[in-house]
Subunit: 368 residues, 2 copies
């Protein structure tokens, strides 16, 4: 095959397809990007068999064809090229020549016969939203999926569509993050799927984050497809039934605590100096009428700080994993946050009045 293309287009398309190429694999072909001439341009595909990405780009095709190229090497080469027109060609032995300006690179390619193309999936059920919304939804919840594989379901996020409402849920057994948005159009059938966390992370990096750009999500039996202009991302779903979250959620509370968000976040960040990674040291909230005292005691030292707060109901003492509290606070934009509490053994709810977000953090025991 032979084509010419602008360097900048090649760089951005290769970097998109690269997102589906696994960092480590024993299967050589999975480390490749598969390039095919397609009508007036090119199709670049990366596929790790769980997540697959194909993206289209403009190019002048001189000799149609297809070839598989080591993805990392291709990415490094195109990024280092001078900012000019790139000529890409391959011969019958799959030897690839990439020229740009007075520089020429030669690298071995592969026929790509054994490359797995993306599955064709049904396109019946879909929802549409702005790339800004989807990117926000992911980044505001993804931190609370489980990192370990013991329970596969917890490593994904639940996307739940009901009428014109989309709810996204992530939980790891110690906390729950939940976001709700209204869709422009009502979905015909309710949907409830578990999308792998890795897929969502990669998608969040491809999405522009602009409110003028659209993304469409197609729900198929075993797959979910994200479509943005020029790019299609296909991911397997995680098998199984997601947790019945509504059973766990209650709107009853005994104590309501309104706290300036930035002050609380700063305070928890400072307290972390005495909490080493994987350390179970809690931060203790001691509630008094207009003050909240936060403190950490550890072998490294002790910390305390007092914040001015509004307390409704009875004050008491409760301990939390400070990192879980911080993760939730980091993704909130409000000036104040409201914590709803029952007692020192019951979960703490952080939510806004419209319940567009609900973050639940389980308390931890502590001794003084």
């Amino acid at each position: 095959m032979k084509f010419t293309a602008a360097k900048t287009n090649l760089v951005s398309s290769v970097s998109i397809a690269l997102r589906a190429v696994p960092a480590h694999t024993t299967m050589n072909i999975l480390q490749c990007i598969f390039i095919e001439s397609s009508g007036a341009g090119l199709k670049l595909t990366g596929n790790d068999t769980e997540l697959g990405i194909e993206t289209y780009m403009p190019a002048t095709i001189e000799i149609p064809g297809k070839i598989a190229v080591d993805a990392k090497m291709l990415s490094e080469i195109v990024r280092k090229l001078p900012d000019e027109i790139v000529t890409f060609s391959s011969d019958e032995n799959y030897m690839i020549t990439i020229s740009c300006g007075k520089a020429t690179f030669m690298i071995p390619g592969k026929s790509g016969e054994d490359f797995t193309e993306l599955p064709v999936v049904e396109r019946d059920d879909s929802i549409t939203m702005t790339q800004f919304t989807l990117k926000s939804l992911i980044l505001q919840t993804i931190f609370s999926i489980a990192q370990k594989d013991n329970n596969k379901i917890m490593t994904g996020e639940c996307f739940e569509v009901n009428g014109s409402l989309l709810r996204v849920i992530a939980l790891d057994g110690h906390r729950i993050s939940m976001r709700r948005v209204a869709l422009k159009e009502e979905a015909s059938v309710p949907k409830r799927v578990i999308i792998p966390g890795k897929t969502l992370l990669e998608i969040s990096r491809i999405l522009s984050g602009e409110i003028d750009d659209i993304v469409t999500i197609f729900f198929a039996r075993n797959h979910v497809v994200f479509e943005i202009p020029g790019t299609r991302i296909v991911s397997r779903l995680i098998d199984g039934e997601y947790f019945n979250i509504d059973q766990m959620i209650s709107t009853d509370y005994q104590t309501k605590l309104i706290i300036p968000k930035a002050a609380l976040q700063g305070c928890i960040e400072r307290s972390l100096l005495f909490v080493r990674e994987n350390d179970k040291k809690p931060i203790i909230f001691d509630m008094a009428e207009t003050e909240l005292r936060l403190s950490v005691q550890s072998p490294l030292g002790s910390f305390d700080e007092t914040l001015d707060v509004t307390l409704e109901g009875k004050g008491f003492s409760i301990g939390f994993n400070p990192r879980f509290m911080l993760d939730a606070l980091k993704v909130l934009d409000d000036e104040t946050v409201t914590l709803y509490l029952v007692n020192s053994k019951a979960p703490c709810f952080i939510r806004d009045e419209d319940e567009t977000y609900t973050y639940i953090v389980l308390p931890v025991n502590f001794v003084r």
Copy 2:
């Protein structure tokens, strides 16, 4: 002891003293910064026994005293404090309390009885230059000291003062980097010392790099002292006699090659895609009348690029470690560089007409 000080002053002084605190050590006291009240302010000292740094800062001393504090912990705490006045105090059990705004940290300190204070060294021989000059000299040569300890002398840089000329030399057996600057004042006695590379690296990070800021270097028998306003840096010298560099340097050449610097640098950066770290693959320079062809052949692929150059003398082929070439080019500001060559077995000299810089790279054998 008890004092109050502005957070910003504390942050910058702690970060300076921290540069002499070793990352890993089995001696607990070396991990500390030693704080003493000193007249109208504070003295903070870090000392790994090879390199010691003391720095003075303004503070309001309420109770004079001294204490040693874990350097990393202190640095983390002060950086996370709100931007206000900090109150620091310690009790008779060396328990330290740091308060700022409504936050309070408590950490255990040490008496510091076993802390090694900086040696007092003679201040007879000194030279003075701008911090800009010293920082540049270091950064333009430090990359070519030896990383391994087999030959201790090569892990340092030679500072050589002769009249009003300072010459700085770094070499690792494969290349030599050499810079020369004129000093404002003539030194009384010629000097030739070997300063540890680690010392120079840390100093380059403390120097402002401004032409209006001055640094004075004192040469003592076993030590060198760098003094900038408020801070004194004392380092042991490396024992031994540095290489007689002038024997290795010749101004004879057969071939002179004038190359656009940015183009050559870009070309070598691209060629590195096919040269893995620790790989000995050379980049080959093939000289023709008005063109220089650079190429790399490796199992990963092959690269070649042609540059327009001016050649004086006979053209031939010569191979270099591309990283060594690149290191030298990166620190040069000129639009063109001139290479002086003899044959494919003799070292290549990159130097300007005034010989303010000389970079020497040994060639490597290659087969085609």
